[in-house]
Symmetry: C2
Subunit: 412 residues, 2 copies
DNA sequence: GTATTTATTTCAGTACCCGAAAAAATAATT
DNA sequence: AATTATTTTTTCGGGTACTGAAATAAATAC
């Protein structure tokens, strides 16, 4: 009983979702073009378009992507009505918390950013902190708050049972708290919690057309190692996939990781692991808290200059990542790997070991090394993924189900 | 454009699928009960039931699961019309090939089984061999072949690009051949290729009610090590998930595996790996071709009697499986693990090392060891999974889309 | 034999889709 | 300037499958 019985109500909802989706993906366009892309008839688009405009969900704009601008009746563009709703996106990272308010068209309205200390949530409850941040944003945008449609939160860690908080997080004292509940009750809007790694993967699909129909993994290399998987099929993922790649074991009883376990990939391939190896610090030494970007650049420079220890450190990192990919490919068949984050600056130093390790398995031998794509900036995919999740959730859950008949009778 | 536009045709198809599914799951039942379980109205069930009976897809039977057998009009059971179609299931394993013919109700009609030699496909093309086996079955059941609806094939290995053959298989000379094409053209019916590990996982859900809503992995331990994943959500999996767990790397440069790679889980946990370790044969020795069941039992007996080498062999096997599960859990969050196959007879000997290794990771520490369920017989889940795949494919692709109006006008 | 109970069917109403034809709005041609 | 061609959008008539309510069917209980 996945979505209730199939009846005319579900026809309407499904087709309205398709219309909103195609505009979300490709921007405002004419009714005719929407009809062609969705497979609906022109007659249906006339009706659906009229409904959505009457309900204030879409609005008529100039058609930005006219293909036929010769003679004939000019097309009227149909785009999201930007004032229909507003969403607040919260990116809660290890060292900063950034709130963005967007309109229904995805345009940034306001932004508030604050640095985060490692002991931030030691004395202060994280749910209170988030409420206070949202309140700051609310006071600066009172008019928009009237039409707040959703609050979406990006976090790092393992999601808790009801997806309302985290079971574990690299941010100290964040796990075990219901992050969404207080927001939902205070503002009375739907709230969503997403894994940063998952958003990174999804956002990359929006930004990289070559990946449109691929199954791929995104791997973040920096202060931590994180992964996300993205599948071309529509619909939500069946389960929590792409959980904690950075803490996948690479070597039994291996190097000490920040999470407290031994032999995680992160303990070899995150900046602190590379730093430790490059300076020949014993593997079981407690990891550094934070590695300044300058220090990391220096190790790269030393490796490029031929320093044996630095080269060895990057080799080990590539090997750990490669065996991780090797093991990942024994579970999910992927065609591409997207590498993101500051660690990609040293990819050339890791590549040989990474490829060797990837090939050292049956699936590597049969399928070859997946195509590797480098992107230094991880922030953009995450923001884009979070924005798209929040806005399409609004499209599907709030706007698509509104009944059209009511609107038409009002219009008469 | 996942499934075409939503219109009345898709309503009919979806609802007919729901009806066929619920009967497939729970057996023949009254229209009223079907209406309750599917959420459809009694009026709709009257219409849908009449259509499906008129088209010969369902037939009226005695209601086997009457709940109210007091007074009132007695319920009429609605069950699959067994003569509506027949399917041939082919289980192609390392050492045997078994064909089963089933009617549309899932009842076995005929069965043909032949042993398979390791060099079976050296001189003979596997597609020809399959055609010949099907022809044998066809000659014994000429009447049923008139209504053949599908041929479904269970294989071991990595599926090829179009799911018509294998990229790799533990059965020699099987990969790289289009197995389905010749069957489809000869008999003019839909053909399907499924991974044995995947069927094992799916079939287990049908057989084990406790797993109904769980996300779990099934791991086969025997002459090989294979895995399948099963998710509670409906619909097909987004990608090839659960590819080749047995050949996931456990130890870089570790023990030699049958596949030619070093350090696969299989090289430690399959019967030949345990045998090799128990007799202190060097890890890099070429694996034995087949291990007689008696030999394996003997090693178990020796381990139970306290033999150090045998105990060590099972320890290593448990450790390899445990780290495999550990790594798997870093990619997919699972709540249960079902162990199947002859190797489960020695599970008590592997358990401590398996659990230690599972716990030695972040996800193990946070989520604990997944609940472990033992089932010695792997054949039954595979057969059940294959049968359900073949029959529900017939339900969805062939019978649900038939138009109802035509049938009703014939009936008048 | 009548009342009660339960299952199924019939009927009238509704929502949404589609194809075809009509209307609207522009550019090109005469 | 009027007409023609072209393209977009709307209108109209027809069709299908759903639903709730009422009617019918087929048994048991009294």
């Amino acid at each position: 009983m996945a979505r209730g019985v199939a009846d005319t109500e579900m026809i309407r909802r499904t087709n309205r979702e398709r219309v909103l989706d195609v505009i979300r993906r490709e921007g405002p366009m004419s009714r005719t073009r929407i009809a062609n892309l969705t497979g609906l008839s022109n007659a249906s688009l006339s009706a659906i378009g009229a409904d959505l405009v009457a309900q204030g969900i879409l609005s008529e704009v100039e058609d930005t992507q006219q293909e036929n601008k010769g003679r004939g009746r000019p097309a009227i563009g149909l785009g999201h009505n930007r004032a229909a709703a507003y969403v607040i996106l919260i990116e809660l990272d290890v060292n900063r918390c950034r709130l963005s308010m967007l309109d229904y068209g995805g345009i940034l309205v306001d932004r508030v950013e604050t640095p985060l200390m490692p002991d931030q949530f030691h004395a202060r409850r994280p749910d209170d902190y988030l409420l206070e941040r949202i309140e700051t944003m609310a006071q600066r945008n009172e008019a928009e708050m009237e039409r707040l449609g959703a609050v979406a939160l990006s976090v790092q860690g393992m999601l808790g049972p009801m997806r309302r908080g985290l079971k574990w997080s690299p941010i100290p004292d964040l796990a075990g708290v219901d992050l969404l509940g207080p927001i939902a009750t205070t503002y009375g809007v739907p709230t969503h919690l997403y894994k940063r790694g998952h958003l990174m993967a999804d956002g990359t699909r929006w930004l990289h057309p070559a990946l449109a129909h691929a199954t791929y993994a995104t791997i973040f290399i920096g202060a931590t190692v994180g992964m996300g998987l993205s599948f071309p099929s529509e619909g939500p993922l069946p389960a929590d996939i792409g959980t904690e790649f950075g803490h996948m074991n690479h070597m039994p009883d291996g190097a000490l990781c920040r999470c407290g376990a031994h032999g995680c990939i992160e303990a070899y391939a995150a900046d602190y692991g590379i730093l430790r190896a490059a300076y020949s610090v014993p593997e079981h030494t407690t990891p550094a808290n934070a590695v300044p970007p300058g220090d990391f650049q220096q190790i790269i420079a030393r490796a490029r200059a031929g320093d044996r220890n630095a080269i060895h450190a990057f080799n080990n990192a590539g090997r750990a990542l490669g065996f991780g990919i090797n093991r990942l490919m024994s579970v999910v068949e992927i065609s591409h790997i997207v590498l993101l984050g500051p660690g990609t600056a040293a990819f050339d130093l890791m590549r040989p070991a990474l490829e060797d390790a990837t090939l050292a398995s049956l699936s590597g031998r049969i399928n070859g090394v997946p195509q590797i794509i480098l992107t230094a900036d991880a922030g953009e995919p995450i923001y884009r993924g979070l924005m798209m999740k929040a806005l399409t959730a609004l499209d599907h859950d709030h706007f698509a189900p509104m009944t059209g008949t009511a609107a038409r009778s009002i219009a008469e």
